[in-house]
């Protein structure tokens, strides 16, 4: 039991594959992929060519780069763009290694093709290169994942992973390999040694002979060069684009309105009809009967369909479809779930925790002897924490355009998982994956919601039934009330302190563990006796990963409870944390820095107080200090200081944007986020009762970055979120003495 590493997650009873399984599968399934797909004639690139380089004069150098006759370099990126800026930064990384002229770099979304699975193929392809791949892949390398094949559809955007996996291990290598091939082709043509050829701004230059040429001149010849499997990557002092705040390539189109999102799909040559849908108000129920008599007479209505587990109305316009479906009377089956209210849900959690008691449940991590140390502690504290269900509520409503005809299916939708969506459509409409094409433009927000594909399958079913193309749009109410959710949870925490107040024992037990496996473990702190346990309990609402996943509730539980321990010890919460980080120099540096920029050690202004929290998630350490003003009796957030160590930040402006977005998303949830249940159905329906933080409520946010050096690069999209709620709750405790053990906060100060 001296092992603090999370135990292996096996395929759960839900049939869910473990996170590690996916990664491993990618490595193995893709092992030969990049090599095979390379540039030799007759390889899969022949089939890929028309998909990504259809234009005359375009040459695919390898599967991630194409160069056209105007010397425009296009990075083909396998991740979706949902506002996080990954497209642009991935192109930046590729272009830097390629020595491309940034102004002439374009970005293209990779097609939903198995050849573009997001994996660390380059780890095999380029080993042994020096981007820290080996030291984290090795523990998962052998055996564990051999059972998983290429069918796992790994074209995924999530886990704050684009830059640190695809960017580091694919885009850079693709760029460097392409550069070497261009150089090789020029060296052959000019009869000079390759080592004498310099590259800069998409040009090849041989000074001694006076030869120079744009990349485009050698793009075809480069494709005949053998590919170096271990291209030399740049060192930091050689970066020209990485580490710089280059402007995002997707922003102009989003400002001038020309950017196309999934909902904008207007496929050439297709006449669209529109579908509105109504899903069951309580999960797992189905249509018993439907009365469409009124809708049948309404203008524009084409069809009314009882699809078994939902009802659809198809009409000439979306408005007509939605108006008509509002009049359809639907009787739903009774739910067998015992959960009718949130009190019921928390009672389910509570009984699971009762059953686990002080030592039961599945041991997620353990070190030392927590039960023994708790029994002998000089002081002990315990607390029960709660987190509510949350909706993703992306701005772009869920939607999908589908056309099923002649044994083929075309889908246009906003998705984080195009290949999984394709598989889901295949099994739903009975058409082979090869006959299904997924077109996936920009996403108008996702936050994890679009990792699920049930809406894609719904649209495909309706299109199959009608026989003509339809665009299905969910109303905001459908998306808020009948979707997939961040889970609610309850955590019981206990801590033991010695005579000096030092934390010597820690125990937590909770019911929900999804991803990442280590989110529930306060591993950075030196606590000699630690026990982390899971007592699984049923969720009434279906789960879907929500920005930062388990960290979103565990960050609140753990960092609030550590604050309680500091208070029990009579210690300053920041100094108390520092005293437990003696083996964590990066965490210490982050916490010291946030203390400095927030003037933590100076007295707070009258009526205000500060709270701190620190969470490492997705490879990035983030500490936040939030200052609240409680003079009105209600929390008013005045300032937020965040310090992040992601190892190395590829685009500081983009990174800050993501951290700020994560903070605002986290504070929105902390202040207002809550879904309540009435008779098993969700009460909240739209933005008027599922509130967002407004501009005048957002604190001033200052983000400082630390590039700590030779460690793997961390993520950006999620790590800003987990410390936000506990930092705020801890600030409110500091200001008012009120300890908040459940969220949301605003309603506790009415």
């Amino acid at each position: 039991m001296n092992d603090m590493s999370p135990e292996e997650k096996k395929t759960s009873k839900l049939g869910k594959w473990s996170r590690r399984g996916f990664i491993g599968a990618g490595v193995l399934a893709g092992g030969g992929l990049l090599i095979g797909i390379g540039v030799r004639p007759g390889n899969p690139i022949g089939a890929l060519g028309p998909k990504v380089a259809a234009g005359a004069g375009e040459q695919l150098v390898n599967s991630w780069v194409k160069i056209d006759t105007d010397n425009i370099v296009t990075a083909i990126v396998p991740h979706c763009e949902m506002g996080q800026g990954a497209h642009s930064v991935l192109a930046q990384m590729l272009a830097d290694e390629l020595d491309a002229a940034w102004d002439n770099v374009r970005v293209m979304q990779a097609p939903a093709d198995g050849s573009y699975v997001v994996s660390d193929t380059a780890r095999m392809f380029a080993a042994p290169f020096t981007l820290n791949a080996a030291d984290w892949l090795e523990p998962t390398w052998d055996g564990l994942f051999t059972k998983l094949g290429q069918s796992m559809d790994l074209l995924i955007t999530g886990g704050s992973s684009s830059i640190r996996t695809t960017g580091q291990h694919q885009m850079r290598i693709a760029g460097a390999a392409a550069r070497q091939m261009l150089v090789g082709a020029a060296a052959d043509a000019w009869g000079v040694p390759a080592a004498e050829i310099a590259t800069r701004d998409s040009m090849l230059v041989h000074e001694a002979s006076g030869n120079s040429a744009p990349y485009s001149e050698f793009a075809s010849a480069a494709a005949e060069q053998s590919m170096d499997h271990t291209p030399t990557l740049k060192t930091r002092d050689q970066y020209r684009l990485m580490g710089r705040s280059k402007a995002r390539t997707d922003i102009p189109a989003k400002i001038n309105g020309t950017a196309e999102f999934g909902i904008d799909a207007v496929p050439d040559g297709l006449e669209l009809s529109y579908a509105a849908v109504v899903r069951p108000p309580v999960p797992g129920t189905s249509v018993i009967s439907m009365d469409a008599s009124r809708a049948e007479g309404m203008s524009g209505v084409l069809q009314i369909l009882n699809m078994g587990n939902f009802v659809a109305v198809v009409a000439d316009s979306y408005w007509q479809a939605q108006q008509a479906i509002n009049t359809v009377g639907i009787e739903w089956s009774q739910s067998e779930s015992p959960v009718k209210t949130m009190d019921d849900q928390f009672a389910v959690f509570s009984s699971a925790l009762d059953a686990a008691g002080d030592t039961g449940g599945d041991q997620a991590a353990a070190r030392g002897d927590a039960p023994g140390a708790l029994a002998n502690a000089a002081t002990s504290i315990d607390a029960e924490y709660r987190a509510p269900y949350l909706a993703h509520a992306p701005m772009e409503p869920l939607n999908c355009t589908a056309h099923v005809a002649d044994g083929k299916c075309d889908i246009w939708t906003s998705t984080q998982v195009p290949l999984m969506a394709r598989s889901e459509v295949a099994s739903t409409v009975g058409i082979g994956a090869d006959d299904i094409t997924i077109h996936h433009p920009y996403l108008g927000g996702a936050f994890g919601r679009r990792l699920g594909s049930e809406y894609v399958a719904m649209a495909a079913r309706v299109a199959q039934a009608t026989g003509y193309p339809i665009k299905m749009i969910w109303s905001r109410e459908e998306d808020t009330q009948k979707a997939l959710y961040r889970c609610a949870d309850m955590s019981r925490m206990r801590a033991g302190l010695d005579e000096s107040g030092a934390l010597i024992a820690y125990d937590s037990v909770f019911t929900q563990r999804h991803d990442p496996a280590e989110a529930c473990v306060p591993a950075m702190y030196d606590i000699a006796n630690t026990s982390v346990r899971v007592a699984e309990a049923e969720l009434h609402l279906p789960f879907q990963a929500w920005r930062s996943v388990d960290h979103s509730q565990q960050g609140f539980f753990i960092e609030s409870f550590i604050d309680e321990a500091a208070a029990a010890a009579g210690a300053d919460p920041l100094e108390y944390r520092l005293s437990m980080l003696t083996n964590a120099p990066r965490h210490t540096a982050v916490l010291e820095k946030v203390a400095e920029i927030s003037n933590w050690r100076e007295p707070s202004a009258e009526g205000t107080a500060k709270g701190v929290a620190i969470v490492e998630s997705f490879g990035t350490i983030v500490a936040e200090v939030i200052e609240v003003d409680m003079t009105s009796g209600k929390p008013k957030m005045t300032n937020c200081w965040a310090v992040c160590d992601a190892g190395y930040v590829m685009n500081p402006d983009g990174f800050r944007n993501q951290i700020e977005g994560g903070i605002v998303f986290g504070l929105t949830a902390a202040m207002y986020g809550e879904l309540e249940l009435e008779d098993g159905a969700i009460v909240q329906s739209n933005f008027h009762d599922y509130r967002m933080l407004r501009m005048n409520e957002v604190p001033n946010i200052e983000v400082a970055l630390i590039n700590s050096g030779d460690v793997p690069v961390g993520g950006a999209g999620e790590p800003g979120l987990p410390p936000a709620a506990p930092a705020l709750a801890n600030a409110i405790f500091a200001a008012s003495g009120t300890r908040l053990r459940e969220l949301p906060i605003a309603k506790q100060f009415v």
């Binding site: 603090m4 078994g308 108006q323």
Partner: protein
């Protein structure tokens, strides 16, 4: 070494849940009102449409994106309008009104509903009802007649 395993596990994270190829039920019922391209049937003169209240019920369909009119039903984006005529403006218990309506002490009647529906934000600046003005005089009158009829006093 073991401790490092924790740290490194964080790097592997990809947010994924089940691949979800759940069994889908068959289409249970498919009502084809008309085929595409086929002209919409001429709107039949509804026998009840001469009645202002019935006309109002039809016209009210444009409001159902945000409002329900059903005794005791939960409000959707806008407040439940059952019994709105005779109700204090901003007075439905449990509905989160804009400050503009919540602060009012007036009572809805046919006359001020007519002004409000003609131009909601003009009549009550600050209202959250940003859409839904009913410009057509006849439609507006019919909707108000319908709403006036929908209250507990009518035995609905």
């Amino acid at each position: 070494m073991r401790n490092r395993a924790i740290l490194t596990a964080a790097l592997l994270t990809v947010l994924v849940t089940a691949c979800g190829s759940s069994e889908q039920p068959e289409v249970v019922e498919q009502i084809v009102v008309r085929d595409r391209g086929e002209a919409a049937p001429a709107v039949e003169a509804d026998a009840g449409a001469t009645d202002l209240i019935a006309m109002g019920e039809d016209a009210f369909q444009m409001c159902t994106g945000c409002h329900v009119v059903e005794s005791g039903a939960r409000s959707t984006a806008g407040p439940n309008l059952f019994g709105v005529v005779g109700r204090t403006i901003g007075g439905l218990e449990g509905y989160s009104y804009s400050d503009a309506l919540a602060g009012s002490e007036l009572t809805w009647d046919e006359a001020n509903l007519d002004q409000f529906l003609t131009d909601p934000a003009g009549y009550l600046p600050g209202t959250d009802m940003l859409a839904g003005a009913v410009r057509d005089d006849e439609e507006r009158a019919a909707i108000i007649a319908y709403l006036a009829n929908q209250s507990s006093s009518t035995g609905e």
